[in-house]
Amino acid sequence: MTTKNVLIVGVGGQGVVLASNILSEAAMISGYDVKKNEAHGQSQRSGSVSSHIRYGARVYSPVVGEGEADIILAFEELEALRWAHYLKAGGTIIVNKQRIYPASVISGIDSYPDDPVSLMKDKGIGVISIDGTKMAQQIGNPVVISTLFMGVAAAFLTFTEKAWKTAITTLVPEKHRDLNLKAFAEGRKLATTIPGR
């Protein structure tokens, strides 16, 4: 198969790294070669966090190129807009309905873009907006947004249910495991309501 390109982006502390680890693990369990690259080091200081995942028969570069992402999972709206041009024609960007203002916006130096989701839709990009933060809270903990998003992503990727669950079980500490498996199931359910899925 041709290499699949996935980007997971967000802000430090949102769970981008965990989500990308789960997705990579599921790819390996499914028998693919997989590589992953992430921007480290800013996660604990409210910086942008991005994780590139590529899987297929044989993967060389760990980095997704511009215009090549099959799917982008964005945990925050500004970050979605920042990476949107990495999406390939016909790709899908799933955006969490959340805005986290950078320090420069809070101090009045910059202004947060007006409605990033509409900006992307106006360019003909396939955008799916979901209120993951609210759903995660309803499930019981805002941190389960990673696994909730994996549940949604599962509708777009070809891994088996078992591969996903094994990946989550391997990577999530035992005390949070059940909650995360529940979030994954909720994500899957949500995906069935997305037109065309």
């Binding site: 390996m28 997989v34 590589k35 080091g41 942008s48 041009h85 420069s104 809070i106 910059d110 992307m120």
Partner: protein
């Protein structure tokens, strides 16, 4: 068994499998995780050393004693470790000795970008460059075998493109190794006494000649035949980009990038029409290939600084790439509405409190220019807006000594107030000799030492002052105040940075003192070793007069609110979610409007 591993983690695994017994290093992005991961293996004695030179000495000693040893650092650390590495590289080893350097290509978290490969030539050491996690493990283990076989330490060089990528790694069991211990009177390790340095130098050169021949046949260097029109020589992450961009080209994939396998390169060059080198930073491979009399393209087609990407490598070959390999349609342009999201200092960070005091000092010393020479750590962010506190910051421990030099250059600093700013880990790394020099040479500087009891910038590693080892075992906490006093600092001010008046007064007195002053302020980091959370503060809106004092702390939790004073000034509010409740803003508030929430 296979596992997805960060290349840094895979280096650690390679060391484990190779039977390494001793590991040392100093934290530095993008190398830090290597030693952190090694520390998880009980079989390996692991330490954070106080600096890279010391770490190198530790590894050298362990090699002499007959233990395979590894030493890890970032590119800038190699500059520090180079002093002992030059002689040991020429002397040779007992058990295998491997230096791991990870270069911060793109200077994501460094004041400089540097190509460590050039050192291989100066050191006379062979160099391996892995291009993914599997190779990171395999090359690390191989480096030990070769180090012993050729009697020379090895350099394994990574870059952040490799270090911070993950890939699938096949694991093997550990193989224990044992070697005859060091013979104390062996001439090999006694320059001048047992062996003349020029003989050592020549030995080093001859070993490289032998290694060159080894490289011609070694598995780590391989030809991947493709079209005859284009041949590409590449290694490391550049190989992965090139392979992705131009899969049909012929490749000479180099695992050992010094010394170069000349025979192999010559044969490969003659098998293709046009030869390219794809490499990041300096034209290190390219110049050597050219020196062999081979025509080669590369550096004129790519950026010199900042590293490569899929996009820049595609551009390199835009003239020759056949149509199917060109992208059909370029990607859409980025959205112009996107704004940057810079990393910020944490709410309540002691550095923000110190910066505020320095800002006030600047305001009050109208007739004297306040210059602050910075150092390397979280507080390096003070070199940028909105803080703009540091005039300069370039190398570990250099703030104090360059501040001293500044005063001498200024004719003892008349009309200036010259300060330096350094954190605890950096002070212990290279600040002590700098401070000693300032004392010895009668400097008028004020050295601020901001002690947050951790190596915060790299993720909260232990250091000699924390009282804990890398494995978290209890140790002796080196006392910074006692060091200062013992080397002769008489004017020392111990402050609580959150006490603005105390800190400001201390600085005010210190800059007027004729000799070296130290202002030592301590407060724990909010993130490391454990995230601290205290109840947040709040603004009593009716009391806020919109003076803006608290806003000029540039704490990320203090923001202008939509409410205005009668005079139309914006009042402030505190973001409860991120506020750490440090209380510093309540200290500087002019109207008593900031209090504990509740």
């Amino acid at each position: 068994m296979k596992k997805i591993m960060l290349a840094n983690e895979a280096v650690a695994r390679g060391a484990y499998e190779a039977g390494v017994n001793v590991a040392s290093g100093y934290p530095g992005t993008p190398s830090t995780e290597i030693l952190e991961e090694i520390a998880h293996y009980d079989e390996i004695y692991t330490e954070w050393s106080v600096n890279e030179k010391v770490a190198m000495d530790v590894a050298i000693g362990a090699s002499l004693a007959g233990s395979r040893s590894i030493v890890t650092m970032k590119h800038a650390g190699v500059n520090v470790a180079s002093d002992p590495f030059v002689p040991i590289a020429l002397m040779g080893v007992n058990a295998g000795l491997v230096l791991i350097s990870s270069d911060d290509v793109g200077a994501v978290s460094s004041p400089t970008e540097q190509d460590t490969r050039i050192y291989a030539k100066l050191f006379h050491v062979p160099m391996l460059e892995p291009s993914d996690s599997q190779e990171a493990k395999d090359f690390t283990a191989l480096a030990f075998d070769l180090s012993e076989r050729f009697d020379v330490p090895f350099l394994v060089r990574l870059t952040n493109g490799v270090s911070h990528s993950k890939g699938i790694v096949r694991l093997s069991p550990r193989k224990e190794k044992s070697f005859a211990p060091f013979e104390p009177m062996s001439p090999k390790f006694r320059p001048q006494g047992g062996v003349h340095p020029t003989v050592m130098h020549n030995n080093g050169y001859q070993k490289l000649k032998t290694l060159q021949k080894y490289g011609d046949k070694a598995k780590v260097n391989r030809v991947e035949p493709g079209i005859k029109k284009v041949g590409i020589i590449a290694s490391g992450i550049a190989y992965q980009y090139a392979k992705e961009v131009y899969p049909s080209a012929s490749f000479l994939k180099l695992g050992m990038t010094y010394p170069l396998p000349e025979r192999l390169i010559a044969d490969f060059a003659s098998s293709v029409k046009d030869l390219y080198v794809v490499e990041e930073l300096e034209p290190f491979l390219e110049e050597q290939v050219r020196a062999m009399g081979i025509r080669v393209k590369g550096s004129e087609l790519r950026p010199h600084a900042g590293g490569l990407s899929r996009e820049t490598v595609t551009k390199m070959f835009s003239a020759v790439l056949s149509r199917p390999e060109q992208k059909k349609k370029g990607p859409m342009p980025p959205f112009p509405q996107v704004i940057k999201r810079f990393p910020t200092m944490c709410s309540g960070c002691l550095h923000l409190a110190f910066y505020y005091a320095i800002r006030m000092l600047r305001k009050s010393l109208k007739d004297r220019e306040v210059i602050v020479m910075g150092d390397i750590g979280c507080y390096s962010l003070g070199i940028a807006a909105p803080h703009n506190i540091l005039s300069c910051a370039f190398a570990m421990g250099s703030g104090i000594s360059s501040a001293h030099g500044l005063t001498k250059g200024f004719g003892n600093g008349k009309g200036k107030a010259v300060l330096s700013y350094i954190g605890d880990s950096t002070f212990l790394h290279a600040g002590i000799p700098s401070l000693m020099n300032a004392i010895y040479n009668k400097s008028p500087i004020t050295a601020i030492i901001a002690n947050n009891h951790t190596t915060a910038m790299t993720g909260g590693q232990e250091h000699a002052g924390t009282g804990k080892t890398i494995q978290g075992n209890e140790s002796f906490p080196v006392d910074i105040e006692a060091i200062c006093r013992s080397i002769g600092v008489e004017d020392i001010h111990l402050v609580d940075p959150y006490d603005f008046k105390q800190t400001y007064e201390a600085l005010r007195q210190a800059v007027d003192y004729e000799g070296v002053s130290v202002v030592l302020g301590s407060r724990p980091c909010w993130l490391f070793p454990k995230k601290i959370s205290q109840p947040p503060l709040q603004v009593l809106t009716e009391k806020c007069i919109g003076c803006g004092s608290c806003l000029s702390i540039y704490c990320p939790s203090i923001v202008p609110s939509s409410e205005k004073t009668a005079k139309g000034k914006a009042k402030v509010s505190i973001t409860a979610l991120s506020c750490n409740g440090c209380g510093f803003c309540a200290n500087v508030c002019t109207s008593g409007a900031i209090t504990k929430a509740g």
